[in-house]
Structure formats: C-alpha cells, structure tokens
C-alpha cells in the first residue's frame, strides 16, 4: 500500500486583501509530522511534501510529482490550512500570490484539484481543508459527480473533511486551527476513536470531531463527505488498534497499542492486566515494579521509558481515584525506582519531579484522611477484617504498619516540609494510643524507621521524634535484637511471635541474621544524642551481628539486586563497644567505599533512595 501526502500551510499573503496568518504553517507541519514522520506513519516520506506559504506553481508541481512522476499511490492525502473561499460557485484555496479580485487566475480551485487527481490512477483521496467557509466546496463536488469520473470499476473514492460551514469562520487557538488540533489528537493517539479497525478513515474522524465541537458549543461546524467509497477508506493508522483483541494496552495504561511503546508493552499485557485487576496483596506493588522494570529495559531510549512509566503509572494510580490509598504512594515509589538510573537525563528528571508532586498530592490527602479517621476512631489502625483468630495478627503486623506510616509521612516532609504540623498531629495520636506498638518486630521496618528518623534529623526536627527512637531502641535491646527475618513466610511469623515473647532465644531460622534494623537504630541513636545511654546497656547485644550494605553509587540503588557495593558486618563486642565506635566505623567505610557524596545530594536523589527502599525493604537508604 502506497500513501503520499501533500500538506500545505499558507501564513504569508502578498495580497493586501488577505491578512497574514500565524498558525497555518504550524498546522501543515503538525499534520506532516504525525502522518509522515511519526511511529504511526503509513505515508512515504520521500514522496510526501510539506509546502509552507507556497505559490500556485509549487503546489501544482508537488501534485504532478506525487501523482504522475512517481509510482501512483493507492492513497493520496491533500491537507490545506490557510485562507479559502467561494467565488462564482467554486471554492478556491488561497496561496501566497492569490489575489481576491482575480481568484480564477491566482487561486487554486478544488475543481482543478479534482481534475488533476481524477486523471491519475490513485485509488483513494483524502482532502482536509482547515479554512473559512470550507463547506462551500460543495459547489465543486458537482464537478466530480460525473459517470466518467466516478462509479466505474477502478474509479477513485474521495473523503473530505471541511473545517467550517459555508457561512462560518474557522477558528484558531494558540497558533493551531481548531480542526487541525482535534484531528491531530485523534491520529496521534492522544484521544481514542475506537480500537476495532487497523486504519482510521477521514469521514468517521470528521463525524467524531463534529460531534465533539457541537458538544463543546464551538462556533464552528466541521463536516465530512465521502463519495464512491469502496473497501477500506484509509487515512491513517489507528493508534489504538491491537492485533490481539482480548486485552489492549489501553486497558491498563494510557498507551496506544499500535505505538512503539505500546508494542513493547503488549509483551507484558497479561502480567499488567493481572496486576491492574488485583494490586491488593502485599506483594502486588513489588510485582508491578518487576514488570515495569522489565518492560523499561525492553524499550529503546529514555524518552520511550518515560512514556511507558507515565502511561502505565498514571493509569494504575488513577484506578484508585477519586479515593486515596497508600497503594498510590507505593506505585509512585515503584515508578520512581525504575527512573533512578536515568536521573541524569533531563526528561527523566522532569518526569521524576512530576511523580514527586503527585506523591505530595496523594500523601497530603492520606495524612488528612488518617488523622480524621484516627480522631473519629482510635482503633482505626487495628485490622479488624476476618474472623475469629485473625484479629490477633495485629500483634505482629500493627508495629510494622505503624513504621510504614511514619516512614511515608516522613517521605512527605522531603517534598513538603509545610506538612510538618499535620504529621506532628498524627504522631501525637500515635503517642497517645499506640505507644505500646512502637516496637521492633521485623527487619522489614528498617528502611521506614531509618528514613523517618533520618529525615527528621536532617530537617533539624529530631527533638520532635526523639521519644519514638527511645521507644524503639528500648524494645530492641529488650528483645536482645531479635527481629523477624525479611520475607518470613506467614506461617513462621506466628512461630516467631510466640518465641519472641516465650523464649530467651528465637530460632535462628526465623530471625534476621545479620540484622540491619539494629544497625540503623544504633546510627540514629548516635545522631540523636542518646548513644551514651544506649552504651550503658549495649552489652546485652554482645556478639550480635549488625549488617549494613554500602552502595557504591545511587544509580544502582533501585535495582532488584544491587551488584556494586559492600556488605559490612560489625559484631558487638568485637568490632565496637559503643554507639560512637559503631558510627565512626560506618562513616569511615562509607566515605571510603561509596562514591556517594552525602553532602551534595539533591532532594530528587534523596527521595529516589527512600522510594526504592520503601518498595524494596531489603535495603536501607543510608543517604538520608
């Protein structure tokens, strides 16, 4: 199938009676870009023409080349934006040299265009005119309705889209014709027509645009005509058509399936559709991260990656709207995690900032909701679902839930310090009703608590949460640093919980060894000035192994397994005997073995490390 385009935009007019325009050339360029130069193109670039403010001979020359000098196309599309009008029953396109008082010599009539086209062997013609009074072209249609031109086998069909009624002007907004703008939205996939057909036809597009204009009350009535149409009347590729008619990318993203990114995404459609339908389980967002990370690795460049993450991300996030859910924050953190290696790219940074802004929007609302719910019902944070014994699971999960909440609200402070007052109000309610649950249960709490205390300390507000740290540290020493291993199978959490309270020593298989949560608490104790108090009971943790992973850089901090970096295990009573010793050793080795310069981290970098650790709690963001 061969398709050629001639796109004409005329801004400059020599005639004093025709005002210069400002958006016609833009319109022609935009149409040319989408039809010829985009991922949806079906038009041959070497046989298509973009003419800006041409004279009549330029246009005739382009038509001659396209329709006669080259192999005649199956589809030929002529786009015109500029002045136009009816003179003596004929519609004329006004070109650069056109003079209104001698239109028949200096304007290009549609009748003439029809004559040229009909003498070629083209199968289908699309004609789009974004000019005033375009429906006046109806006069010229009569020149086409002749048995020698139409109706016979092999004669050409024609689809026409006109911008305005014969007594209307064609409007323009921000340098773009209203008709052209709407047309481009549809053929570039910004808006969806349908997903049933592989190619869009101009008459149908005209109907969609016209309906929209009427609904929006515009003073312009586009219209479309089709004549002698047989077979598919092809105008452009349908971005939303998918060969697979079961699940389309548009079912779980805003990405048209026929786009470059859409085609990559089709390979992940089963997984994403499954997740879109059920994100509720704890592993849901982590699975989401794995899928978008894989899809991200399959696209060719950062621009496409950003398109993919926005297209999928916004759709997943929107699923929970207008309600708010912490899943939205988790999704934003997952998307931010995938962007980490690309933060040196400007487009990726802009996208990252947009997601940070979205994080702020949702987390402020969630903070308000949580506060309101807690004020109304002090048992709000207790999981009451299920029956019988289920409620007892709160003994294990409630402390973890609280750690996550304080972590997420501290992450909010990274993007909006102004929310501090509300976060403080939340912390006051926790102090009042949940103090007994400020305890260490699982290694999973490590990144949330580290970020919570780290962010408050960096913001100079450490005094506001020092009592929280004392509670956590007291509990940690009280249970001899025995915290449940990360990803402990659910059936073993119960065994861990019972052993934690009923035995001196928890079975080694259930606990974290070496443990990073304790390492984080020791660092924070030093930072918060309670190190010396901790030192007086540190012997209780004698022989306990503390672990920290020192990442070599930030760009890999989002990876599932961070390859470059060093594990460091420090044993209490062998490597250190005080919090300060511990802190000094960690600092010395971090400075030596990591390229990360803690003194010059941007807010984006800090946010990204926190985001990655929240969605993958097997790492601690030491950078915060």
């Amino acid at each position: 199938m061969k398709a050629y385009l001639v796109a004409i935009g005329c801004d400059d007019y020599q005639s004093e009676t025709l005002n210069d325009l400002s958006g016609a050339e833009n319109d022609a360029s935009a149409v040319y870009d989408v039809l010829v130069d985009s991922e949806y193109s079906i038009y041959e670039k070497e046989s298509s023409y973009l003419l800006k403010s041409p004279v009549i001979n330029d246009v005739k020359g382009a038509l001659e080349e396209a329709l006669f000098d080259k192999e005649c196309p199956d589809i030929f599309t002529l786009f015109f934006a500029g002045h136009g009008g009816v003179v003596d029953g004929t519609y004329y396109l006004c070109l650069n040299e056109t003079k209104t008082d001698r239109m028949s010599f200096t304007g290009l009539s549609l009748t003439e265009i029809f004559r040229i086209v009909s003498s070629s062997e083209v199968k289908h013609v699309n004609l789009i005119i974004d000019a005033c009074n375009t429906a006046g072209l109806v006069h010229d249609l009569l020149s086409l309705i002749k048995p020698e031109l139409m109706g016979a086998k092999g004669s050409f069909g024609i689809s026409i889209l006109a911008a305005a009624a014969s007594d209307e002007y064609a409007g323009e907004v921000a340098g773009q014709g209203l008709l052209t703008g709407s047309l481009i939205n549809l053929i570039s996939g910004r808006e969806k027509v349908n997903s049933d057909v592989e190619f869009l036809d101009l008459v149908n597009l005209g109907r969609v645009i016209s309906t929209k204009f009427i609904q929006e009350g515009k003073d312009q009535t586009p219209s479309s005509w089709g004549m002698n149409l047989y077979g598919p009347s092809i105008f452009s590729k349908n971005p939303y058509h998918s060969q697979d008619d079961t699940i389309s990318t548009h079912d779980f993203s805003f990405i048209p399936p026929a786009s470059r990114v859409g085609m990559v995404l089709l390979n992940y459609k089963d997984d994403l559709w499954g997740l879109y339908d059920d994100l509720d389980n704890t592993e849901g967002v982590r699975d989401f991260l794995e899928v978008i990370r894989s899809a991200g690795e399959a696209v060719d460049n950062t621009d496409d990656l950003v398109t993919l993450l926005k297209g999928v991300g916004y759709r997943f996030i929107e699923k929970f709207s207008p309600e708010c859910d912490f899943k939205q924050l988790e999704l934003i953190n997952a998307i931010s995690t995938v962007l980490i290696p690309y933060l040196s790219n400007e487009k990726a940074r802009v996208a990252f900032s947009e997601f940070m802004a979205l994080f702020k929007f949702y987390s402020v609302r969630l903070l308000d909701d949580t506060l309101a719910n807690l004020q109304e019902d002090k048992y709000y944070l207790i999981n009451k679902e299920g029956a019988g014994f289920d409620v007892l699971s709160n003994y294990y999960y409630l402390p973890i839930r609280l750690s996550k909440l304080v972590g997420y609200f501290a992450q909010l402070l990274l993007v909006d310090e102004g929310s501090n007052k509300k976060v403080s109000a939340f912390l006051d309610l926790v102090r009042k009703d949940y103090r007994g649950h400020l305890m260490v249960i699982s290694e999973e709490q490590a990144p949330y608590l580290h970020s919570f205390f780290g962010i408050y300390h960096v913001l100079g507000k450490g005094d506001q949460v020092k009592d929280f740290l004392i509670s956590y540290m007291r509990d940690y020493i009280g249970c001899s640093g025995q915290v449940a291993a990360l990803n402990l199978p659910t059936e073993d959490t119960l065994k861990f919980l019972i052993q934690r309270y009923a035995q001196n020593k928890v079975n080694i298989e259930y606990k974290s060894n070496p443990d990073s949560l304790g390492a984080s608490l020791l660092l924070q104790s030093n930072a918060y000035g309670i190190g010396e108090d901790v030192d007086s009971v540190l012997h209780i943790l004698d022989r306990h192994s503390f672990h920290l992973f020192i990442p070599s850089n930030i760009s890999q901090f989002g990876e599932k397994v961070i390859e470059n970096g060093f594990n460091m295990v420090l044993r209490c009573g062998s490597n250190f005997w005080t919090c300060k010793d511990f802190n000094d050793i960690v600092k010395e080795h971090f400075d030596k073995y990591s390229e990360v310069d803690l003194s010059s981290l941007s807010s984006i970098e800090k946010f990204s490390c926190v985001a990655s650790s929240f969605v993958q709690p097997d790492r601690i963001p030491l950078m915060v």
């Binding site: 060894n513 192994s545 005997w577």
Partner: protein
C-alpha cells in the same frame, strides 16, 4: 495440557528448594555455628573490619548441574527424585566446605600460623605444636570452647593412634597447654567485656 496444576507445581518446586537449602545449612552447621551463617541480599563483596585494617573479599559462586529425564518421570522412578535432591545438597555443601577450608588455609598461610609436618617426628608432636599455636575462645555462656580439629578420613585413624600411643608426659603437656590457653581465653574475654560501659567485672 489438561489439569496442569501449574500454580501448585510452582509452590511444590519452591517448597522443595527451601527444604534442600535447609538441609544444606544443617550440614554446614556441623562445622559452622548457624549464628555465623549470614545471608546477604546485595553486592558481590564484603568487608571484614579488624583493628589492624579492613579486608575486602568477594563472594565465590557455587553451582551444581542437575537433570532428571522425562523417561525417569514416566517410569515413576522415585530413586531419581531423592538422587536429584542429594546431588543438590551434597554439591553445594562440598563446594562450600572446600571454599571454607581453602580460605582458612590461605589465612593461616598469610600470617604464618601453620605447622609443617615434615619438620616433626610424629603426628602427636604436630598436634602438640598445633595446640600451642591455636587461641582458645569463650562462648556466650562464658565457657571456654576447645578448638575443633578437622582431618581427612584417611588421616583421622593414624592421628588417633599416634595420640593414644603417647606416654603420660605427652598427655600432661597437652593438659598444661589447655589449662594455660583456657586461662588466657578467660582473661581476654574479661578484658573484652570490660570494654562495655555497663560492665565492670
């Protein structure tokens, strides 16, 4: 395939792998305390921090090639099931142990804490020399722990025979060294614990 039990099969495989890993750890625990078995999620290296400096080390890979034929499955040859598991567990365990002894050997060579049998008359004397060079440790209950001796199966019997054939003087010397080393270990442990702010022994 009809009635594939896809999800269940996946869970079955995961449970079997976890069981094999547990068995592997049990075997290793004959040589290394479970408290000293550490799991890491990230990186390919770790740092050993000592008072005289930090040493960088890299993880070493261990791998076992496993296969089971469809023919064995169709015959329902259950021996292949257990052999598959044994190959996995033994393969990883032997590689881990080999790596551990190699690391110990290299560390001893590095600091010269080795005994050369050629220079000594009997295995008993080598044993005595070795005992003199080993530092005893104290466990978390404050009790002295005697060092372990690992020898190959071929060397175990001759060593035992050599030790048993020694006279009273030899055994008295062994006891003296043990006593001396135990006292040194307890003294060192006391010093170590006294470094805590909250302890004054």
């Amino acid at each position: 395939m009809p009635f594939s039990y896809k999800t269940e099969s996946k869970k079955f495989g995961k449970a079997l792998l976890e069981m094999a890993v547990r068995a592997h750890r049990e075997k290793i625990s004959q040589y290394v305390s479970k408290d000293n078995m550490h799991s890491f999620q990230h990186g390919r290296s770790w740092l050993t921090v000592r008072e005289d400096g930090t040493e960088e080390s890299s993880f070493k890979e261990a791998g076992v090639e496993l296969s089971i034929g469809y023919e064995d499955l169709i015959k329902n040859d259950i021996n292949q099931f257990f052999q598959f598991l044994d190959t996995f567990i033994e393969g990883f365990t032997s590689q881990t142990m080999q790596g551990m002894f190699q690391t110990i050997s290299e560390s001893c060579d590095k600091i010269g804490n080795t005994v050369n049998q050629k220079e000594n008359a009997s295995q008993a004397e080598v044993f005595l020399e070795m005992l003199k060079k080993v530092e005893f440790s104290v466990n978390e209950n404050g009790q002295v722990e005697l060092p372990q001796i690992h020898v190959g199966t071929d060397a175990a019997e001759p060593l035992m025979q050599s030790l048993e054939s020694q006279g009273e003087e030899f055994h008295a010397e062994v006891e003296r060294i043990k006593q001396e080393k135990s006292e040194a270990a307890l003294k060192k442990e006391k010093v170590r614990l006294n470094r805590y702010k909250g302890i004054d022994i």
